[in-house]
Symmetry: D2
Subunit: 422 residues, 4 copies
């Protein structure tokens, strides 16, 4: 029986690995999830109803184009909003019996990576590698989806023994920290007492589960656009407004900002594209930027200075500008270590090793959800499910041991049974 | 009879307008020209034999791809080198009789512009607009080719009345000032006594011919590549080598260089592309740059300083760099005004207005040829053939009055008859 | 008799060479000039009455200190305003007879240069070198004063033969183009028909007089101050506001501005002082800047861009700023060449060579006066009095042939006699 | 008896407060210290014999001038080398009996600060404020000297009860981290088993002694000089080589370097002086810079990048440069916490509170001595003597509670008695 669970988890993981879709384009992924949740008898929320303001949307053309990649499922529900980028879904089991509301969060988007096509890469060898060119599950979110759906099956089977309410949140666009804020803004978490989430890999070793992860960095992802005026650079240089030089100045000066007494900060201008041709004063410039801070305060101070540099650079060259927030996540530190100990104790009976603290040192937008739930006196916990990796996260050869899926499933199952058993 | 000449000029111009091809990709254009010259009984040089070092070549993929656009002519000569980008051709009539060697130069490449497809645009309306997407004769070189081929016909018909040697040089890649240096380096001009060239449009008005044009600016076209090292900008910022910041510094500091007591100078960084993603220290940066100088000395001094800035910017961020010369043309000032007066007098008998001086204030790589010929005590002259333009040069709606072609033809014919009449 | 004139000119020149005083500190110089003009019986205007807005004033402490250097003349007129920096004077001969108003302008300030103390330097050897340390007449203004005073003597002696009105303007603070605007603003030139001025040296050779000089460049002299906030750079870097980096950015970007299709432009950041100590975030930054333009339009456009760069650099580092205009002069081109020819003809009878055109290619604030007079349909002329120089202008060994003084005197005398002879 | 000690400590402290002298100019301070040590019967090393390479020396003129401020003591030892800036002294008590060599280090220089002259400032009110204008003991080194001299008295009185060797090192030029390296290079510490040092104030509160201080930052102090070429910026801009723009570029780009995954880093360009006048291309530029790193490795990596930026900026503007190391100190972390505990236990019997750890988070060049002694398997300890401060260190109103002097004295006495009691 236990073996059947792992088998199903693997089947699900491979199915979603094959239809890897990047943030806001998780059309097929979302449709399949909804279909599965409905088939388990869960109530499902999706589309505009679970979204507020979405950051870092692809352009319209890309959104339209990707629809062609979707293998049309014969489904009996409305998919129109999904194809407008309102992706993700929330499956709900409301027992109507008194009890806590427990939310589990699974991220579902892939990376924008071309998948390895060598025989050493198991997904390729075993023929379940991504069918979408340039999109690949290289962060384990395919595994997260599988855990979530198997949990859906489990709770629907056991619904008569459960109390309270269980929400399975399938979040789009975690890469680039874009999706969580939209879901939180739609207030889907407003009555949640416990929010649980986790990730395959990172610092946890094979057969370890680390709970009580903290050290999430605050981060912001910005696109900066400068708009100048073209002119023939030989004939009328003074008639142009040079957006390239504004962008170049912005890039250099942004990199002077990372000295804070309160702790670590980071800035990176990862991309600069400006100008059209050799003999034209460049009329456009674009920068892709990210900031990080060990604390929210640092990132906020940094962003204030970033804004100065953006505006100042525009003024220098008399050009216009626009800043588009492409993603963000707040810092998060686990403050309720007692709750972590409780979880640790619940998990100690299994044959994986349980550790009760880890410092993430990176960003994850689940922190929006943690803050939302804590605001209402709820509690949150983030866990890492250790595994052996074939290559680091976000690498074209990334792959994990599939039996890790069962550890994750067991963790979620155990916690639900603790909170929601009648 | 005269009307037939104009008719043929128009037919030729329209034929070449249709197969517009950008620099170094003038495959079909070159094959057609060779075919025509041979049919006139001229000796034809082409391929590697007329080239030395070619600047600003497209990448191999582009060169291979464009071959598919060529309507295969059944020709009885070897075209292999042409498809390797050794474009252009030289038609030669050697009378074996004593007399001067006179070279006429016609540029043959198109612009990288999408042609206007509105009914107001005559080439579109009359159905001879470019068949090659993104390539368009928007500078009148199609007309120059037509003049050259009609002159080929004329001298082949009159060869028994002529003395000396006549060379018709069909030069590729004038846009971006790339092709002339390659031809000069192959020594095709080494015995030339007179070099004649001209252009449709610019400052000359309808029914004017301006001879003795000078004020050609020295110019250099450079591509600068910086090669750094990628690293995760959040996790290991110090392991990266930032090619974006090197490029940004280079751009800003290049723009500080334009103060010379000797006269006008210009610099422009027209394009800057650097980096791959928001959270990666950028490992590459590319700039497209051009310099100009009122004199050769200014441009040379400027280039020396440009080199300092390129190297210094690489050192700043500990990155490697490469500079690729994409094009160049020397400054040129007409020093033999007597020769200009001679030409002016020869042309005065026609019903177009002849002016004997114009200041170009721009660049043209025919100046390489003028310097080469003058080095050997030869003489050169550049002329503008006035016309009405529908839109400025390099505009998608550019078009000229086709009867202008006859003026150009008459000018060349008259000068040949003066120099090479037995 | 002629020899006595030269002797007196030399005596005067040496007297004023000895009391060299920089702009707005010409206390002793002014008092001596007034005294002399009064002793000739001229009406004298001076103090606040001849000034409006003075640019580039020294600080109060300096103004107070310099008073100690003045050898107190026993004078019977009020000198209080002079010691407040209202320097310079205007001597007026009003014949009350109908006739034109002719103004002669002499600049009176010295340079801020330490005078050469070697035996090769005649003023030192002959013991008339500057008694004021760090101040030296290294531009010939001592000679200009001498000419003006000798002219005062002449016109007072001949006043019965003259008509109209003659004004002798002794202008302070020409170095740094500061003083002329203040005099013009006080409307002292409002009824002038002819304004004459000249300079010893520059392009004119020994025994040449060049009249009809033009090609005066527009120029602006600015001091830029940035005000930030200090903080310990190790302990609290984020609490500082870095005025040094604002100033550095300003300097670099100002130097990118000199490309104008309409003609020559210049910018220079000649001085940058910022910060107080190695471990303090710099709270202050100062730049001394000048701009130049071949035309007024160019300089105005340039100043517009300069302002952008100053403001933008302040915004970049969130610091305050202040711009103080330290000097300025408009461009000037001599438009009335007929008037120049008239002057040329008047001067042709002397044994110096007269040339009728020279291109100055530099700045002089007499151009404010020329524009003011031309606005009222008057005429202006600027002349160079050729000499042999021991060292270039503004050099610590600068010296000129003193017999040049007579040529200048003759020129002014001749022109006055032409315009104001009864 | 105890009261007499405090009385003497106060008298000594006030005497040295009055003759505050900045680094390398501690002429009078050094002479007085030597005099006192000799009067106690100690062997004294001083002058060239205790120095190797001195960083950050004042210029010769300043060194010569300051001699005039010294109240000449009638002393019977040679002071010539002291007036050449070979300041500081080492008093040695060699018991010739077997036992450890224990070194105590006291820093003796003042700050370059103008002392507060208000009645609230006790040194002024009580008439012992600094007699040297612009020099003030605002860091407590006057107190350190007093402790060291009172210890000299103590050990000379008790020499028959002691074993081993005791060295009292009076180090010059601690401000700017300049002096320690010179003493270490002269090998005066080569046989030392224990090195003890401490500081008044900082994080320790009144009546606290914190021992086992670590977290000393690595730091480097650099002066950077750029040498360009002057030229008239209006007439011949291209003939100049702009050292101001090189310096400005250097400043901005240095500030981009502070992102290291291994920990905290700092850079500051605290001063930039460039150029001479508004209309001259600036021929010189100077920057005063400091770097810091949480570890030696970080500071070394940072210095490598600093060097790139300095060289690159010189190349950009084709100017020469020179880098002068003005000071440095290595990072230091206390690795022998057992030794700290031993010290803590020894001190616990007194009526001040003893704490056994503090994180300094700043730089002190005593770390050179700690590394030298540990290299030879010796041990070092750094302590803070808590006090009430009237104003922060390096402030013109800085002052401390003088009874703190006794705590410091007790600490040193106790440790010597522990290590060197027969």
């Amino acid at each position: 029986m236990e073996d059947q669970i792992l088998e199903r988890l693997i089947t699900l993981r491979r199915e979603f690995h094959q239809c890897a879709e990047v943030g806001w384009l998780e059309y097929e992924t979302t449709i399949k999830i909804i279909h599965y949740l409905k088939s388990c008898g869960l109530k499902v929320l999706y589309g505009k109803s679970i979204h507020s303001e979405r950051m870092g949307l692809p352009d319209e053309q890309t959104m339209k184009e990707h629809k062609k990649n979707v293998n049309c499922l014969e489904v009996d529900f409305d998919t129109e909003e999904i194809f407008m980028g309102y992706t993700g879904a929330v499956g709900i089991l409301d027992t109507k019996r008194p009890g806590p509301t427990v939310a589990l969060r699974f991220d579902i988007d892939s990376n924008a990576i071309e998948e390895d096509e060598s025989q050493e890469h198991i997904p390729y060898k075993e023929k379940f590698s991504s069918k979408n060119r340039g999109m690949m599950h290289a962060c384990g979110h395919d595994g997260h989806i599988a855990m979530g759906l198997e949990i859906a099956k489990k709770i629907s089977e056991e619904k008569n023994e459960l109390c309270g309410k269980i929400m399975l949140i399938f979040q789009p666009a975690e890469e680039g920290v874009r999706g969580a804020k939209s879901l939180v803004g739609a207030e889907i978490l407003k009555d949640v007492d416990y929010i649980l989430s986790g990730h395959i890999g990172f610092m946890a070793k094979k057969n370890q589960v680390i709970c009580g992860i903290d050290g999430f960095l605050a981060t912001s992802k910005l696109d900066i656009h400068y708009y100048g005026k073209a002119s023939h650079s030989g004939a009328y240089p003074e008639k142009g407004k040079n957006a390239l030089l504004a962008a170049a100045n912005c890039a250099i000066n942004l990199h002077t900002l990372c000295q804070f007494s309160q702790g670590m900060s980071r800035i990176n201008v990862g991309l600069l594209h400006a100008g059209t041709g050799r003999n034209v004063v460049p009329a456009d410039g674009k920068l892709e930027v990210e900031t990080r801070g060990e604390t929210q305060e640092i990132n906020d101070q940094l962003l204030k200075r970033v804004d100065d540099v953006i505006r100042g650079s525009a003024t220098l060259y008399d050009v216009d500008y626009e800043v588009i927030r492409m993603g963000s996540a707040p810092a998060y530190t686990c403050k309720d270590r007692k709750f972590v100990s409780l979880v640790e104790n619940l998990l100690n009976k299994y044959d994986f090793e349980v550790m009760n603290h880890g410092h993430f040192g990176a960003s994850e937008d689940v922190t929006y959800m943690f803050h939302e739930v804590e605001k209402n006196n709820g509690k949150g916990i983030y866990m890492l499910f250790g595994t052996n990796l074939k290559a680091p996260h976000h690498h074209s050869s990334f792959d994990f041991d599939e039996d890790t899926l069962k550890n994750g499933y067991i963790v979620y199952k155990t916690l639900i049974e603790h909170f929601n058993r009648r």
